[in-house]
Each structure stands twice: as structure tokens, then as C-alpha cells.
Amino acid sequence: MVMAGLQGFEYAEPTTLEEAIDTLANSEGARILAGGTDLVLGMRERKFEPRIVVNIKRIPGLDRVQIGEHGDLRIGALATINAIDSSERVRTAFPILATAAHSLGSYQIRNRATVGGNLCNASPAADTAPPLVALGAVVKIAGPREDRIVKLEDFFVGPGKTVLSKSEILVEIVVPGTPEGSYGAYLKHGPRNAMDIATVNAALMCTLSGHRCGDARIVLGSVAPTPMRARKAEEAIRGKPVDEDTVRKAAELASEECSPISDVRASAEYRRAMVKAVVRRLFRNALQSKSAKREA
């Protein structure tokens, strides 16, 4: 593999969504350019060899981060990771998403990378996927026909693959407001304290009354072909008190139901073991944020 300059491609810069969809529909081998932090690198490594690169950043209105009157969060697909990381409102209302955004790449990458790009690149280790799935996010997809809404947890099909057809564009991510008593956490485990692609990353959203867990969503990254709900683990803790035993049981189940691979970063066995540690810590952190809130 020769790491080289970029190979020849056509370049398009549509200024409307319709124009973009049209270009995608009428081209073979097109790839969408958002932040470019995955695409340009992938092109240099010959992972992607697009015939045409479609830069959608000229399309207005796709980069907003807004909290609606019902507390729901609407993230334009082109909102940068840094926009999420530095949003006081996101940090307050959806802290696990802000934490995940903060942990992605470098400051320079966060300034360019977009939420939409992070999701559409569909790395199993994507940082924004677990918290958004844990928050029950849905994505709005524009295409040649009507817009469609897809639950984010159904959006990913495999490593690098989503449900998007070749002429569809992810335009918005909608995160419903969290119910009263919701707490969560996001953890990213890697060897260094910055810059790593996760060995294991995971998000938790749960409702807690006292120490009893109401509903729970546990979402694991880097340990399956796509970000995945650890449903057996969720089942084991739903409605139960959040104590050492139940958390341990949930963590074990999560560890069993994932399917990590061994790669250059870590072995499957270590990943499985880390799922256990990470899930335990997710609950610990969620409880801590609950007591912190009470004390505040």
C-alpha cells in the first residue's frame, strides 16, 4: 500500500439539497465530502476511490444545533463536532453527547469533522454513535423521493455501511428530550489520553429513581460490526436496583453478547474484558452524576 497523493476525481459543489441529490443520483462512484477528515484520509490510503467528490458544505441550513421547545435536540448533519463540544446547552441537556464529541480525534479534527460525517462513515468505533443511539436519536434522510426518518440504531448495517442509498443524504439528527430522572455516561477506552480510535467505547442512558433503574439503553462501540445495543444487559438491569451485583451481571452479559474482533489495536479477548469494565463504570458514573446533581 503506497500512501500517496490523491488520485484523480471530479469535484462538485452543489448549493442546494436538490442539486446534491441530483448529482449523486446521476453519478457512479460518488462520495459526499463533509468535514473531510475521514474521506480525504481514506482517499489517500486508497480505502476510498471516488470518481466524484460532492462537497455539500455550501448547502445552507444543514449545520444548525438547536434545542426545540420540547427539549428535543436537532443537529444538522453538517454541525461540527466542535460545535457540539462547545455548546453549553448540549453539555447541560445531553452531557453524554458532549463528552463523546470532546473525545473525538484532535481539536483540529473536531473543528472540521461533522456529526453527519461521523455517523455516515459508520466506523464501529464512531464516537458520536453510542451516545446518540442511547439517547434514542433518529435521523432524517433526504433523497430523490420523500424524506424518511430512520431510528439511528437501525441506521448502521456493517463497518462503513449504512442504510443510505447512493443518492440519499443524511440531513438531520433529532434527539428527543430526555425524561425526568435520566442519567447517563459515555466512556472511551484506549491506551492514550487523547487521539486514539477507541479500543472499546460505550454509552449509557437510564432513568433512575432512588437507586432503581427504570429504562436503560446500553450502547457499545468497537466490539461489533456496528454500534450495538447490549439488549441482554439492558434486560438484566431494567427495573432492578443499581447495585454491585446487578451491574456486574449486566456487564457480563454485555461482554458476552458483543462480537469483537482482534485487530492491530487490541485482541478480541481484551475488548470483551474491557466491555465488562466499561459497563460497570458507566453505571458508576451515571450514579455519580445523579448525586452531583442532587448536591448542586
Binding site: V2, M3, H189, P191, R192, A194, M195, V264, R265, Y270
Partner: protein, 762 residues
């Protein structure tokens, strides 16, 4: 311990003046190799072998040659030379066979990089794969495939002695006392084997070179290489031409070297192309990936240490067998092995010593000089064993070391020479104190210490000119390379001190073998000492010439004069003249005062065979915390104490310590080269070959110890290499202290530590 008395108050030396190159660097105006361009520049790209060991059956470059814009396509036969300082074993491009995945097989020079890349992709090579050999112990076996069938025909340095018909290209031995008797006298004997991993230097500036042949066939090369004169010689030896047919020019600055940018790397293929482009210059810049696979790696090593101690804590005998995996070509492997052997049993008073070192070929990428030059490998072994012994015997690791540490007048346990200027105990004590050794720590928290000593390359020479201009300005002309360590600043300070000229009026040249006099190399932590001495001598020479001119002008004898602040003045009096006035006083029509200085230690022996002109000593202590649930290590603090003789620029010394320590930490906990089964590197990028970021670097306490050296400039010795030698072992020792887990193979990644903890708890 040497007691130093500051009789004289220095004006420039010993001061943390601002680095003379900092302004250019912070404004983006500093010129590095890739910033250099010429109007008719061609761009080169290299085709590299995907196989670790294969015969080249055929190479078809015809399609590549036809691409518009391509000016030259070369293969091994177009530059039929072999080079290598220790052993002349490396062809400029592969001939007959390839010996590592990433070896240069063909190259293209074209009008643009894109065209060169495209054309490279059109070259067809037919390979016949051969059995690969990656394991260094396997490679030593008699039945192992031969990587260099013609080993016995290669020219080599006197000190290097390849064993014909094997993969062992060098073997070294040090013996003192009687090792067998020593072990018999011991109360306890311990033996362990340790493995040190390969790794990469990760200079942020990738490797590059520009080469041009002129109409007479003379070749000029612009290259960030840490030893321009040595490079010229290496090329001259390889190509069979006299020195004057070659010219090596250093770009003003190098973006990090750490030993890697020495010897023959990109230079070879760049020159091969330049010889066939109709006199147009060719630039090759390696990609980051190529920099990982095809420049230089650190030696992987397997080291077995056996040490015998007496009940009272003294070490009576120590034996070390060191096997260095030098990869496909010897490069500096032999002398790296030699240095590793030289410090093979540690900085201790040991009467009975036997050290054996082997430099062994495998089909791995070429390994060579890395900061520390063989010591990180050997130190990891004996300094880990020291702690294992201490643990078994119930001794404190600091006390055990202090009890045996070398001191002023001790005998070097390997070479047997008498040691002076020995600051070791002070280093150990200060490092231990700074880490609060002995303070009780919570569970999963631990401290570790390691110490070492290192020789420099001896004998080796440096020469310098000092040019004093008509207006009193001074030019320091040397071949010392500014690799980032601050040598230009150090030499400025030394010249300023000696000639009494303010630092603002002094400039330091960059090397150009046509103009700047010989320097052995900017390696082995030798520049401050050797080039510093040469500059000091040259400055003294210039000063004496100026005094000889000034004396009659001031009506005194030269002995009554001193040089202060750009003036020549009568000692204790008020009469003075500026240096400019003195020169103009004699040479109204203009002239130059040329001082020359040459420093070559008066020590018998060929290079590397003699005792060292100075030794550096250091000790590092680490405080860290282990997360038992994940195996992740958090290094909290590193206290590093280094005996530099005299700190010419204390802040620069601190900078070297801080940088080295973090490099050492990377080796210990993060950095791991991964290969696939065919010998290709799986992680030739910063994503998956992880070096410490600012978020990973711990609190660092740099401590300067000064055991002045009589022959060093103002008492100075050296520092650069020592600063990363002890860090990995101090970390491994701290891990043991925190968890009871003994790591015998680095790196201690989180996964490895987690597994060890799991196994221990099972």
C-alpha cells in the same frame, strides 16, 4: 564525587540564553530540507518490495519510462554500489534479492510527484519468494537461511568481525576478572532473560534528500543527515570515488534525528536517480509510511543477564549476553551492539564481568542508531534484574544501587579503565528524593528507579574555524548539525565566553563539506564536548592573533590583555580598543582573522575500540498508578537526574531531559510495531503506532548534576542520549512496585498488563 569550584564568573556559559534558532522556528522562517526547491527540480518516488525475502527474477520498467514527464527510471544495476559504515552490505537499490519488506527496488524521477507516483505503479517486478527469517534467535541457528550469502566478501570496520556463513555480522566481548570464580564466590546468583522491542524514532520531519550530479559527474546532496562528513565518506567508499567528487550540504535545520537520520537511507536511491537525470536535481521525500518501514528502526534485542551478589549487598559477578536484531542490513548495528555491551552490566563496581554481544541479520526492516545507541536494550535487562534481586533479597532498590554505584576513581566494569568525573550517586540520590522515594503509597501506585552510564564515540575528531570580521562580528564555522538539540546555541555561548564577544554578534554556520571542516558526527552525545572544544580552541587561536595585533597598539604585552564585551582591554586598567578597531588598525583595507581549532582526544585505538573520553551518568525515578481493571498505566511523575559535566545552557539541558523521558515513556507503554506474517508493518502511521501526546506526558522534574570533566569545554560532557535510556526500566520497576507484576518484555501495554494481572489473580 568531584567538587567544582566556580572561580570565574562566566558571562555566557552556564546561562539559559534564548536559543539562537528559536526566532526563525517560531515564525515559520526556518528552512528544512523539504522547504528547499530549485527551478528545474525533479521529484522521485520509490517502488518498494512487498516481500521480506525474495529473489528478483525480473524488473520491467519499459512502461514507466514511456510516461510523459518521466526523466529517469533506475534499478539496482544503475547504481551498482554497496554502502554501510560498519559493514558495506547495503546496495543502493536491491540487487538480485530483497531482504526486507519495504526495500527499494526501483525508482522514478519525473516533473511532478504525481507523474513519478503514477509511473512507479507501472513498473513490473517478478519475485520468487524465499523463506523468511524474523526471529533473531532462529537467525543465529546454523540451519537458518542465510540473509547475506556473501557476508565474507564485504568490507567492514576494523572493530567489526562478521562470522562467515552465518547471519551474525558482528560479535563483541568484554571480560574482566574471572567470571566463573566470581559466581562461585557469590552467595546468590540470579539469571533472567529480557526482550526489548523494535520501534521507530518518529521524527516529525519525514526523511528526504535532494541530489544533483553536475557536468563533471560530481554529486551534491542536500540532506538532513546527522554526520555530513561521515556521509561523504560512506558514499565515497561505496561509490569508489575520492571525497572531492561528493558534496554534502545540510539544510539549516533538521526536524528531529535521534540517530535515525544518519548513515545511508534516502541518500542512496536519490543519488541513483540523480546520476541519470541529465544533471537535474531530484528530490525525494518519504511518506510517513515509508519513513516507518524504510528508514531506520530501533534494535529489537534479547538480553540474558546473570548476576551474583553477596549477602552484604555487593555485586561480585555479572554476565550479560546481548543479541541485537539488526534487520536486513547492518547499518550501525555492530557499534550499537558494542555500546550496549560496554554498558552491559550497568554502572556498578563489579570485579568479575563477562559480556557477549551479537549483531544478527533477519528479514526485518533495517535497525540502527537510535538515541541511546544500544543502551535502552541492555539497560532494560540489567536494571530490571537489579530490582528483581533487590526484591528477592529484601533490599531497597535505591540502597542496593548506591552500595555498588561507580564513583570517582572506580574501574569501568567492562573496559577496565579508571573513571573520573562520575556524578552517578548524586543522580541516584537526587532522583530518588525528587520522587519522594520511601513515601508510603496507596494500592496500585508504585515507584521505580533505574540508572546507567554511557560512553561516547572515542576517539573521534572535530575541527572548527572562527572567522572574525572587520567589524568585530564572529562566524563559527563547523560541521555540527543542529538536529534540534541546540548545538548552534551552545557553540555560540562557548565562542562568546572565550572571545568576550556578545552572543548577538555571533553566527554559526550549517555544514557544507566543501567549506566546513571535519566533524566525526553529531551523534553519541559528543557535539558539546568535541565540537565545543574545537570551537574553544579556534576562538582562543583567533583571540591570540587579535592580542598579538593589539598589544603594540595599546603599548603592552599580549599577556596583559583580556577580551571583554567586544573589546580588547588591558587587565586591571582602562585602556581598551574594540576588536574592530584592532583589525582595522592593522588592515586598513580589510582582512579577516581566522582562528582554527582541532580537537582529537589523545587516546590510542581505532574508533569505538578505545576507552571513552567521557562517560555520562544518569538516574531516573518514576511514580505511576495502575488501573487494575484495565491494565492502563498513568505515569504521574518522572524525576530524571543527569550528570552533564557542566550545563552550558541549563534550560537546553532541561529540554533534552524532558523530551528524552517522554520518548522513553512511549517505548515503555505505548509503542509497538506490528508485522503481518509476510513481514509488512501493519501500523506504519501515527494512528496505530502511538507516541505520547501532550495529554499523556507526565509531570517531569529535570535535575542537572555537574561532575565537571577536566577536558570538556568549561567542564561539559554530554546529555542527549542518556535521557531516554533509563525511563522504560524505571517504569517497569515501578509497575512491579505497584502490582507485583514483573515485565520482561516491553512495551507494557494495557492489554499486556491486564493479562498479567488476570493470570496472577487466577
Amino acid at each position: 564525587m568531584t567538587v567544582t569550584l566556580e572561580i570565574k564568573k562566566y558571562t555566557a556559559v552556564g546561562k539559559s540564553i534564548q536559543r539562537v534558532d528559536a526566532l526563525e522556528k517560531v515564525t515559520g522562517r526556518a528552512i528544512y530540507g523539504d522547504d528547499i526547491r530549485f527551478p528545474d527540480l525533479l521529484y522521485g518516488k520509490v517502488l518498494r518490495s512487498p516481500y521480506a525475502h525474495a529473489r528478483i527474477k525480473s524488473i520491467d520498467t519499459s512502461e514507466a519510462e514511456r510516461v510523459p514527464g518521466v526523466k529517469a527510471v533506475v534499478t539496482g544495476k544503475d547504481a551498482p554500489f554497496r554502502g554501510g559504515e560498519a559493514i558495506r552490505d547495503q546496495p543502493f537499490l536491491a540487487v538480485g534479492k530483497v531482504r526486507f519488506a519495504g526495500e527499494a527496488v526501483a525508482a522514478v524521477a519525473a516533473e511532478t510527484e504525481k507523474i513519478a507516483e503514477h509511473a512507479t505503479g507501472l513498473i513490473r517486478v517478478e519475485y520468487e519468494q524465499l523463506p523468511t527469517l524474523f526471529d533473531v534467535l532462529e537467525a543465529m541457528k546454523p540451519e537458518a537461511p542465510r540473509i547475506h550469502e556473501e557476508l565474507h566478501t564485504y568490507a567492514h570496520m576494523p572493530i567489526v568481525n562478521p562470522i562467515p556463513n552465518t547471519n551474525i555480522c558482528a560479535k563483541f566481548e568484554f571480560n574482566q576478572g574471572d567470571i566463573e570464580k566470581g559466581f562461585k564466590q557469590a552467595d546468590h546468583v540470579f539469571e533472567e532473560t529480557f526482550t526489548f522491542p523494535t520501534g521507530h524514532h518518529c521524527q516529525i520531519e519525514p526523511f528526504m534528500a535532494i541530489a544533483q550530479a553536475d557536468i563533471s559527474g560530481r554529486i551534491t546532496i542536500w540532506v538532513p543527515n546527522d554526520a555530513p562528513h561521515r556521509l561523504r565518506k560512506d558514499l565515497a567508499d561505496a561509490m569508489g570515488v575520492p571525497f572531492e567528487r561528493l558534496r554534502v550540504i545540510s539544510p539549516p535545520y533538521m526536524g528531529g534525528g535521534f540517530g535515525g537520520k544518519g548513515g545511508l537511507k534516502v541518500e542512496m536511491v536519490c543519488i541513483a536517480l540523480a546520476m541519470h537525470t541529465d544533471y537535474r536535481p531530484v528530490k525525494i521525500v518519504l511518506t510517513r509510511e515509508e519513513t516507518f518501514t524504510s528508514s531506520l528502526m530501533k534494535h529489537q534485542a534479547v538480553v540474558t543477564v546473570k548476576t551474583g551478589v553477596k549477602k552484604d549487598g555487593t555485586i561480585i559477578a555479572s554476565q550479560s549476553k546481548l543479541i541485537y536484531n539488526t534487520g536486513a542490513y547492518a547499518e550501525k548495528g555492530p557499534t550499537v551492539t558494542l555500546h550496549g555491551c560496554e554498558s552491559g552490566v550497568g554502572p556498578y563496581r563489579i570485579p568479575n564481568v563477562k559480556v557477549e554481544g551479537f549483531t544478527v541479520y533477519t528479514n526485518r526492516p533495517v535497525a540502527g542508531a537510535l538515541r541511546g545507541y544500544g543502551l535502552p536494550q541492555s539497560s532494560f535487562a540489567h536494571e530490571s534484574l537489579m530490582d528483581m534481586i533487590a526484591a528477592k533479597m529484601g533490599w531497597d532498590p535505591v540502597e542496593f544501587r548506591l552500595k555498588n554505584a561507580l564513583e570517582e576513581g572506580s574501574i569501568n566494569p567492562t573496559r577496565g579503565d579508571v573513571l573520573t568525573s562520575v556524578g552517578l550517586k548524586e543522580c541516584i540520590l537526587k532522583a530518588a528524593k525528587a520522587i519522594e522515594w520511601g513515601k508510603p503509597r496507596p494500592p496500585n501506585r508504585g515507584v521505580g528507579i533505574a540508572c546507567e552510564y554511557k560512553a561516547t564515540k572515542t576517539p573521534s575528531g572535530s575541527a572548527a574555524f572562527i572567522k572574525v570580521e572587520n567589524d568585530g562580528g564572529v562566524s563559527v564555522i563547523t560541521s555540527a548539525v543542529e538536529v534540534g538539540q541546540g548545538i548552534k546555541t551552545i557553540l555560540t555561548q562557548i565562542a562568546s565566553e572565550e572571545l568576550g564577544v556578545p552572543v548577538e554578534r555571533i553566527t554559526v554556520t550549517s555544514p557544507d563539506t566543501d567549506y566546513t571542516p571535519f566533524d566525526a558526527s553529531t551523534t553519541a552525545s559528543r557535539a558539546t564536548f568535541h565540537m565545543g572544544n574545537a570551537v574553544r580552541l579556534a576562538t582562543k587561536d583567533a583571540k591570540e592573533q587579535i592580542f598579538a595585533l593589539a598589544a603594540p597598539m595599546l603599548g603592552v604585552s599580549p599577556e596583559e590583555l583580556e577580551a571583554v564585551n567586544g573589546d580588547v582591554r588591558v587587565k586591571g586598567g582602562s585602556k581598551k580598543m574594540t576588536i574592530a578597531e584592532v583589525i582595522r588598525g592593522k588592515y586598513r583595507a580589510g582582512h579577516t582573522i581566522l582562528g582554527r581549532g582541532s580537537y582529537y582526544p589523545e587516546i590510542q585505538g581505532t574508533m569505538f575500540s578505545a576507552r571513552s573520553i567521557f562517560y555520562m551518568y544518569g538516574a531516573q525515578a518514576v511514580d505511576l498508578e495502575v488501573d487494575p481493571e484495565t491494565g492502563k498505566i498513568r505515569v504521574i511523575k518522572i524525576a530524571a537526574a543527569h550528570d552533564v559535566g557542566k550545563a552550558i545552557n541549563p534550560k537546553a539541558c532541561e529540554g533534552q531531559i524532558e523530551g528524552g523521558v517522554v520518548q522513553g515513556m512511549g517505548t515503555a507503554v505505548f509503542e509497538e510495531v506490528k508485522f503481518d506474517t509476510s513481514g509488512n508493518m501493519l501500523n506504519p502511521n501515527f494512528r496505530d503506532y502511538r507516541i505520547p501526546t501532550a495529554s499523556d506526558a507526565p509531570e517531569i522534574v529535570p535535575i542537572i548534576v555537574e561532575a565537571t570533566h577536566d577536558e570538556g569545554p568549561f567542564g561539559a560532557k554530554g546529555i542527549g542520549e542518556m535521557t531516554l535510556v533509563s525511563t522504560p526500566t524505571a517504569i517497569a520497576n515501578a509497575v512491579y512496585n505497584a502490582t507485583g507484576i514483573r515485565i520482561k518484555e516491553l512495551p507494557v501495554t494495557q492489554e499486556k498488563l491486564f493479562n498479567s494481572l488476570k493470570d496472577r489473580n487466577a
